[in-house]
């Protein structure tokens, strides 16, 4: 069950990063996108097989954790993902991050903004507890304003109730 959840997250992550989150490097030629990354020259900077890249963080580490209905406590899967994020952030210390909290559409606008902030903050506090400096992590909530899935049932809602760690900074900025 846990394995399925993890791979679902990874697939969702790949899908999203492929269409909405160009990396710091190579966003225009798309070399970082999943299996399309060239393998013959070894590591392409900024691609998903460059362990210091945004694409690697999004796809291999996992940039998001999911939440149960109306909850902001982290699941075991979520904590495992955040452990990976913390390790990565400590290794790649030139990155800042904004943790974006989101809710599904089943709620009123203001409440969902506050709930998304609770979720993002839960992820932030966990990362801080693992040693990531608080000064590198900001939170913002989008409430129900930015779903990634648009169907109106639990299959989509489950993916929309999320906290996504969005990297900023890095070597080139």
């Amino acid at each position: 069950m846990k394995r399925i959840t993890t791979s679902t997250i990874l697939i969702a992550t790949l899908a999203v990063s492929a269409c909405t989150n160009p990396g710091r490097f190579g966003g225009e030629d798309g070399t970082y996108v999943g299996s399309a990354a060239p393998v013959n020259t070894g590591i392409v900077p900024g691609s998903a097989n460059d362990p210091a890249s945004t694409a690697y963080f999004q796809q291999a580490i996992g940039d998001r954790v999911l939440f149960e209905v109306d909850q902001s406590n982290l699941t075991a899967t979520g904590r495992a993902t955040l452990d990976g994020q913390a390790t990565w952030l400590l290794t790649n210390s030139d990155y800042q991050a904004v943790i974006e909290g989101h809710a599904d559409e089943q709620g009123t606008r203001e409440y969902n903004l506050a709930l998304g902030e609770r979720r993002a903050n839960a992820a932030r506090e966990y990362l801080v507890s693992k040693g990531v400096p608080a000064s590198r992590l900001r939170v913002v909530s989008y409430g129900k304003e930015r779903p990634i899935e648009v169907c109106s049932n639990e299959a989509c809602y489950a993916k929309n109730r999320r906290a996504v760690t969005v990297l900023a900074g890095g070597l080139t900025s």
Binding site: Q106, R109, E110, Y111, E145, R146, I148, E149, V150
Partner: protein, 444 residues
């Protein structure tokens, strides 16, 4: 039954509806509750095309009468008798009315008008007749303005007619600020817009470059508070409707501020700040930027709204475990829970009359717009759908506007209005989708 009596009857029925819709409905037919079914037999009226008193006034005379008729018909309380049924024509605003001709087609109310246009100045006169008693109801009135504002003149006439027949304040000469929406759910574009209450004269106040949420009119309708992600983080802005100039309100770095509303004085804003996973309610003096914390719990406390006298604030909190409605003094302090029904309650808004709280209710996967008394009694649900949200009161406290979002990938948001009795649910026509409406006071 005399017509005078019928007109008074309608006024009485409307007055009762304001407070006890359920009871009034139940006594008039078989016992059944259909939330949005009309029950009152609408009062038949006639509005012949107004009389042009200058050469330039012809088209406007016709258009004005149409808007007056649309306003009245739109309430669900009136039914227009089409011009094709007329026996009499009105060719002179000051000539005696042929009551028998209007009686014959069962027009219980007759509105006549005259229009004078000189350059860009416009004068509109009207008279209201109670046909069956053969007398004018109130005396003739005259409004002056510009040709550009011709719809407002029509709304003023309709407000006067509505007021005289129902005994209620009018609401047609008012505006609504809202979020105009385009695009699919996962790439929705939002921008602020303001329009006449009926969806006419839409004007955009921001572009769609950043997410904008929940605009709220000031008590005089000259300013709007709203939340924007312009900086990447939600912040509250105050915008002057006339000049479209805006400024951001004070906020601390690393926090989010949202859900603003004006106090009745227009000088204070009450709103939420989220920080460190906790959301509380604050008030801020707009001029000085000085703020005061009003709630201090680990719960989510948001969506505050002042009572009309400014003394109390209704808000939502999940301190009990789920979203519920509470009332506290405007200076903070002990809050009293007022919602106790099944489900969750949010987005409370105090009625301009002070008697009712409108809210969004979520129960068993459905959303409702409802009202309750300020002590939480007499809860009534007015609507039901996949997602109804965010009511706002018409200036006379008789009608609510809200947003209805449809489900699924192609879902979109549309503004609706509904009478506080639960009757007369209608979409409000806007050029794009709409959400987060906020009704202005009656214009001066």
């Amino acid at each position: 039954m005399s017509v005078r009596f019928t007109l008074k009857c309608l006024a009485a029925a409307v007055a009762i509806f304001g407070f006890q819709a359920g009871g009034a409905l139940a006594q008039q037919g078989p016992l059944r509750i259909e939330i949005t079914e009309g029950v009152i037999e609408p009062l038949p009226f006639a509005v012949p095309s107004f009389q042009p008193e200058s050469a330039e006034a012809g088209q406007m005379a016709n258009d004005l009468a149409r808007v007056v008729s649309d306003d009245l018909t739109g309430t669900g309380l009136f039914r227009e008798i089409p011009a094709s049924a007329f026996i009499s024509t009105v060719s002179d605003f000051n000539a005696p009315v042929q009551y028998a001709d209007w009686k014959a087609i069962n027009a219980q109310a007759l509105v006549t008008g005259a229009v004078n246009v000189q350059g860009n100045s416009l004068t509109v006169k009207f008279r209201l007749y109670d046909v069956f008693s053969g007398a004018e109801l109130g005396s003739g009135l005259q409004f002056s303005g510009t040709t550009e504002g011709w719809r407002r003149m029509a709304h003023k006439v309709a407000d006067a007619v509505y007021s005289r027949i129902t005994g209620e304040g009018g609401y047609f000469d008012s505006r609504v600020v809202f979020v105009s929406e385009t695009g699919p759910k996962d790439a929705r574009k939002k921008r602020l817009a303001v329009m006449d209450y009926d969806g006419a004269n839409v004007q955009y106040l921001t572009d769609s470059g950043s997410i904008v949420l929940a605009p709220r009119f000031s008590p005089t309708g000259d300013r709007v508070l709203y939340t924007s992600y312009e900086t990447g983080f939600p912040r509250i802005y105050v915008l002057d409707v006339g000049s479209v100039q805006r400024r951001v309100l004070e906020s601390a770095d690393g926090t989010m501020s949202f859900a603003p509303r004006f106090s009745p004085s227009g000088q204070t804003v009450v709103f939420s700040i989220s920080q460190g996973g906790n959301t509380d309610i604050y008030s801020m003096d707009i001029a000085s930027g000085q703020s005061v914390r009003l709630t201090n719990t680990p719960a989510i406390e948001t969506a505050p709204s002042y009572s009309p006298d400014g003394g109390r604030i209704v808000f939502e909190s999940d301190r009990s475990g789920t979203q519920q409605l509470y009332i506290m003094p405007a200076t903070g302090g002990e809050a009293t829970r007022i919602s106790f029904g099944e489900g969750r309650y949010g987005t409370p808004v105090w009625s301009p009359r002070g008697d009712l709280i409108a809210f969004t209710k979520q129960n068993k996967g459905r959303f409702h717009i409802g009202v309750m008394r300020t002590d939480g009694s007499e809860e009534r649900l007015l609507t039901a759908s996949f997602l109804d949200e965010g009511p706002t009161w018409a200036p006379n406290g008789r009608v609510l506007m809200f947003a209805r979002e449809t489900q699924g990938a192609s879902g979109s948001s549309t503004l609706y209005s509904v009478d506080v009795s639960g009757r007369n649910l209608r979409p409000v026509r806007t050029p794009e989708g709409g959400s987060d409406p906020s009704w202005s006071p009656l214009q001066k």
